[in-house]
Each structure stands twice: as C-alpha cells, then as structure tokens.
Amino acid sequence: MRRFAISLATIALAASACSTPSQTPSEEVAAPQMTSTTVPAPTTTTPPIPSLSAEPGFDESPQSPLADRVASLDSALYDPQEHAVETPTPVTLTIPSLGIDGADIIDVGVTDDGEMEIPDAGRVGWYRYNPVPGESGSAVLAAHISFDGRPGVFRYLAELVPGDEAIVTLDDGTTIEFRVVETAQYPKDDLPVERVFAKDGSPILTLITCGGAFDRTARSYKDNIVAYAVPVNGAGNGIAG
C-alpha cells in the first residue's frame, strides 16, 4: 500500500482548484493590477473547441522525461476495412521426388477434440490458423500416410531428404518453391509444437504425417514424421506476414 500515494488532501486541493463558476462570481471583476494565477474553471458541459493548429505540443510547456517512456499505438477506432483484405490460400502441392503432382490442398481447422482436421487420403490439409506458405512463420501442410486402407498423399514422406523440392501454388496464381532442409520423427507427445506451429519468424513450410509403430487397437500411429522446407529464393513470397 506504500506505493499508493494519492492522499485525500491532494484530491481535496485539486477539487477546490477546479471550482465551478458559481463559486467565484466576485473574481470576475478583475482590477487592472491583478494578475490572476487561478486556473480558470473548467466547463463541465461542452469543452472548448480544440485549437485549429495541428502542432502536436506547445513550445512553452517543458516536455517530461517520461515522454521517452511512452509511445503512441495504433488508433482504437474501429476500422471495418482492416480485415477486409483477402490473403491468398494454398491450393496445390507438388513434390517431384515423391511423385506427388498437383495434390489438392484444402484449408482445415480443428475438430471438437482440439486435434488438427485432416482431409481424406487423397488431399492435403493446410492449417488455416497458421501462415500462408511463404509468409513469416510455419505454414503447416498435413496429409495421411494411410487412411482407411488407402495410401495417403504423404505415404512416402519419410523418404524426403534435404535438398528435395516442394512446390506450392496459391489461389492467386502465385507459385512458391521450397527446399527441404531437415526431416525428423517424433513420438506424438513430443511433437515440438512451438516450432511446428510457429506463427512468426522466418518462413518455413512444414510437412507432417504419421509414422513409426502402428497401434492396431487404437488405429493410430505412435509418431509424427515432419519435414521442414525453406523458400528457394530465401525471402518468402512477399505476402505481408
């Protein structure tokens, strides 16, 4: 409580300085020699129209050293146009070394269980809450290794090696080339989610499927297989991230 330094006396003093006009009718008759230092009574109805000058400060008031420790932020005024900008979404994936040629990509979210939604065996899911391929952060593309007895698009993802290329096309016609830099296999509980689902940082294309031992009772795999790829031109596709 020691830090709470407003005293009632201070408040009372301030209150008296901000007296209402009706309290000081006599002071309105100003004798010529009087120099008033009283703060004029503030209006409680319509405030004075602000000065038409656009200068942000006045030269006569010293600037506080605290000014360096505050910063103005974006306006809080609601701007309906802010979210109106459409960002492109990925639509096809090609990985020549795996024989994947123009596989369809659809955007996916999460299931009621909080797991990533995965499309059927023949399609690739792009996690819509992570960046678009080429933007800052990790763009996540997931596909089945095997689903209901059918081989999934990422059936042979484990065979990717650094240097292999992956090409993504977006629905605005843009094509982005990526090159695999690292592959890994993790027990599902040890999936490095901060890295796989990174929302910022350098642009990464993260390809993910299942692997390792298959549990026939649970009908699921023990591990995730992940391949990380970086844009070939090094700088992403210029989409504002």
Partner: protein, 262 residues
C-alpha cells in the same frame, strides 16, 4: 469534478491492490481515450508527457510500469484547463491492463482500469471481451443474431472464447431486439487472439460507437496431428495376412497327413 477525481482514485486504488497479486513478468499497460470530442494533454509534475490525445488514440504506458506518476494532470488540449487532477498515481509493475477514459452511464467523464485475460485460448478459438464504457443504459451484445452477452451495464465487462470467425455484431437495449444502437458491424475474431471491444460515446449525443484493441499470441497448437488410421505394410491389414498364413499352414498340414497315410 470531485466525482470524477474520486472515481479515478478508486480506479487507481484497484490497480494498486491488484498489482501485488499478479505473477506475470512484464507489464503491459495501455491507455485509451474513449470520450468523443475531448482532446487532452497529459502532464506529470508540470511537464507534458503527451499532447493532443484524442478520441480513439492509444498510448503505451508499459515503459512506466512500476513508476509513480507525480502530480498527474489531464488538461484540455492546448489549454491550462485541468480536466482531471489525479495527484500521484502508482502504476503496477506487472500484469496486463487497459485504462480507458470514458463516459459513465450518466455522461460524467471517468476512468476505468480493466485487467485483461491473457490465459491460453484453446486451438481454433479467439476471445471476445466486451466492455460497456458508454453513456447508455444496459445492453445485450448479439453475434450473428444470437445474444452473446446480456444485460451488460456501464462499466461492466463480459467475455467468451468463441470459434475464430467473423461475426456480425449488434448492440441493442437489454431484452430488446431494437433499436440497434451500435452496428451491425463485422467483427473478426482471430484465432489465438483476444479482441477487446469497448462500447463508447453517448446515446443522447448520438455518438455511440466501438473502440477495439487486441492481444495476440494467446493461442494453443492443436492437441495432435492424426494423419493415419491404417497400417502400411504392403497395404494389407495384418488380420488378412494372418488369416492367409493360417490357411496355408492348414493346407500344408493336410497334404502331409495325406502323404503319410499312403
């Protein structure tokens, strides 16, 4: 004026009490100007900290976390007229707060201090926090036609984690369907982000509108990436293979028996 100062003192008292309970690291303190048509200058110890602070403007005070602002005064912009004389104000040294100058239900200028919920948001969801900081009676907030928050009065707040989406939001008098006093407005709720919406202005003056601020980075990754529900040993389920083996063994055994009997 006394009522305004007393209210501000109470708000800062709340700040001082809340601060020691926070176990967070860095402080994030934002100041929002939520009173239409009243640009102000903010002084500490007789010196201007920032000027021409107008409706909708936001200042980041995080750099002053833990500091005591000696002789804080809010003056009408470009004048010596003191609108708020707050004396010494101690800011918390940790926690996530939004401070907004706004109109009370009766139209009196006041200041409210809100602590923001920065707990993790489940994957796929965003958080909508609505604060009634307008000179208006209690309202219902509707999202896509359904009441999301009901009977919200000045200066209360309400929040909910909702699926990330763009919602058509309307604000109506509580219990009624009309008139729509704010909106309809498309409000985008981003995944992993807390969107804080302030109803501000004055119903009588016809200046009701919303101000918004966001806190991002609260999201959670999906719990699992389940990308396989059948094995890949040659594409045949193990049960089929096992069955075939049994048949082969049985056939082989039958042949051997047949031979021996000759």
């Amino acid at each position: 004026m006394k009522k305004l100062i007393a209210t501000f003192a109470a708000a800062v008292m709340a700040l001082a009490i809340a601060a020691p309970a926070m176990a967070q690291t860095e402080a994030r303190i934002h100041l929002i100007h939520g009173i239409p048509d009243t640009p102000v200058d903010v002084f500490v110890d007789g010196e201007a900290v920032f000027t021409d602070f107008a409706f909708g403007d936001t200042q980041d005070l995080s750099g002053l976390a833990g500091a005591t602002l000696v002789g804080l005064q809010v003056r009408l912009a470009g004048t010596d007229t003191v609108a708020i004389d707050a004396g010494d104000v101690a800011l918390p040294d940790s926690g996530n707060y939004s401070i907004i100058a706004h109109l009370a239900a009766d139209g009196t200028p006041t200041i409210a201090v809100y602590e923001n919920d920065t707990s993790a948001i489940d994957s796929g969801n965003g958080r909508l926090q609505v604060r009634h900081t307008a000179a208006a009676p209690a309202v219902d907030v509707k999202a896509d036609g359904a009441v999301a928050f009901s009977n919200l009065a000045n200066p209360d707040e309400a929040k909910a984690d909702l699926p990330a989406a763009t919602y058509s939001v309307e604000v109506v008098p509580t219990g009624a369907d009309e008139p729509v006093v704010i909106g309809p407005a498309d409000i985008a709720l981003d995944e992993g982000t807390s969107l804080i919406v302030y109803a501000v202005g004055s119903l009588d003056a016809g200046s009701l509108t919303v101000l918004t601020e966001s806190i991002s980075g609260l999201g959670t990754a999906p719990a699992e990436v389940p990308t396989g529900n059948s094995p890949v040993d040659g594409g045949m389920p193990l049960t089929v293979v096992a069955g075939a083996l049994v048949l082969l063994v049985a056939a082989g055994g039958g042949l051997a028996l047949a031979r021996r009997s000759h």
